[in-house]
């Protein structure tokens, strides 16, 4: 009996959290007109979430591309179709690996930074101080970080994919001797603009999800050292799970 009651209260807590997150999102979206008047706040956050994530995204993109080059070469060589490596790698990077891996990196690099920063503001009463000074912390702290993340994410994904393709090319063409012309021409023949759009749509959705989770977790963190740590951990876990679930749903819709 007590188990049923516990389950019910857990369920209610989950529903409450979903509702709280959606309301939080709406409150942030309501601040967008006021933020347009002060774009510097957003630019600062594009720097924090995007520009500072650039190095990790580029390094990971490079190595993911190189490992795809090796793996696809090994698989395709069994069918004597090594030239198709360009197609496989480009579509794989554009539609799946680019958006998903970048979102995971983003959650780990930028999401944690945002969550712990806001959590620490909460723990040190900076958010309460803002409210006392009649500054809305959602407008001043949450919304710029959220918007910055949304803007930065598709750009990071595009950079990741471009660098990844360079990595594929490096291994497949330069090292394993796939013919350069057929590598590029087969890729061009098989990849359409709609594939690029698919990847960008995915990255935008992941950007919204990861940024929202990070900002919300930071904002609702328990104001202790332990609470901030827990909020940071939850940011990574929830972002990663959410990204992969959303990825499945988006792929099912797009195919």
């Amino acid at each position: 009996m007590s188990q049923v009651a516990e389950l019910a209260s857990n369920l209610r807590e989950f529903v409450r959290m979903v509702g709280a997150v959606v309301l939080f999102l709406l409150r942030m979206l309501g601040q967008i007109p006021r933020l347009i008047a002060r774009p510097r706040l957003v630019v600062e956050q594009i720097y924090n979430t995007g520009a500072l994530s650039l190095v990790i995204v580029m390094i990971c993109g490079m190595f993911i591309g190189m490992v795809i080059g090796l793996q696809f070469y090994d698989i395709l060589a069994r069918f004597g179709s090594e030239d198709a490596i360009g197609v496989g790698a480009a579509l794989g990077l554009l539609k799946e690996l680019g958006p998903v891996v970048t979102a995971l990196l983003f959650a780990g690099r930028a999401g944690t930074a945002v969550a712990s920063e806001i959590g620490l503001m909460r723990a040190t009463d900076q958010l309460s101080a803002m409210e006392i000074m009649a500054v809305d912390p959602i407008m001043r702290v949450a919304a710029p970080r959220f918007l910055g993340g949304i803007i930065a994410m598709p750009l990071l994904v595009a950079i990741f994919i471009a660098i990844g393709l360079f990595g594929v090319q490096l291994v497949a063409v330069q090292q394993l001797g796939v013919e350069s012309n057929s590598f590029w021409s087969q890729m061009r023949a098989a990849v359409g603009v709609d594939d690029v759009v698919d990847g960008i749509v995915k990255s935008f959705v992941f950007g919204v999800a990861c940024s929202l989770v990070a900002v919300h977790e930071g904002f609702t963190a328990i104001p202790t050292a332990e609470g901030v740590g827990r909020a940071t951990t939850r940011t990574v876990v929830i972002s990663a799970v959410l990204t992969l679930i959303l990825d499945y749903m988006l792929t099912a819709v797009m195919l």
Partner: protein, 170 residues
């Protein structure tokens, strides 16, 4: 904390780099949209079976791409697939008795249309029809034929004619 100015410069560089990457993806690795540059003319070919030929597939002669498949329709009156071939106007001396066949590029490759030049004096022009066609190779039919010939049936020639790949379409 770094100064506002250097933050703005780094952010600008990041955003520009992102858009450059996006531009690279859209223009350099995709090609499906831009088909035949410049002027072109369209001819028609009717096939019994086009296999998995898609709009946008290459039309090639001697291995050189000279055009793209522009449209694929089904004609209910003759029960055939009508394929519109958009050919670059630079190639305006293709004999009208040339033959169009659906071929496959490599093992995993896409299907394309290969044109073999005929010997006629007249050339294909806008709205013409390619009459000599060869259908896509359907693996199941081929296996059926093989199985029939291995089992030593005597009606094999008739079978081959029924499933045959070369025929006049008019």
């Amino acid at each position: 904390m770094r100064s506002t100015r250097s933050i703005e410069i780094s952010t600008g560089m990041f955003v520009l780099l992102g858009f450059a990457a996006l531009f690279f993806l859209v223009t350099q690795i995709t090609n499906r949209e831009l088909s035949v540059d410049g002027s072109s003319y369209t001819v028609e070919a009717r096939f019994e079976n086009i296999g998995s030929l898609k709009v946008g597939a290459a039309v090639s002669m001697a291995g050189v791409t000279i055009g793209r498949v522009d449209s694929i329709k089904f004609d209910q009156t003759v029960y055939k697939a009508v394929v519109g071939l958009k050919i670059n106007s630079a190639y305006n001396r293709i004999p009208s008795d040339s033959d169009a066949s659906i071929m496959t590029a490599g093992l995993l490759g896409a299907q394309y249309i290969g044109i073999t030049a005929g010997g006629g004096e007249e050339y294909l022009k806008e709205g013409d029809q390619v009459t000599l066609v060869q259908d896509a190779l359907v693996l199941e039919n081929l296996i059926n034929q093989l199985a029939a010939s291995f089992s030593g049936r005597k009606d094999e020639p008739k079978d081959a004619a029924a499933n045959g790949n070369t025929e006049e379409s008019k």
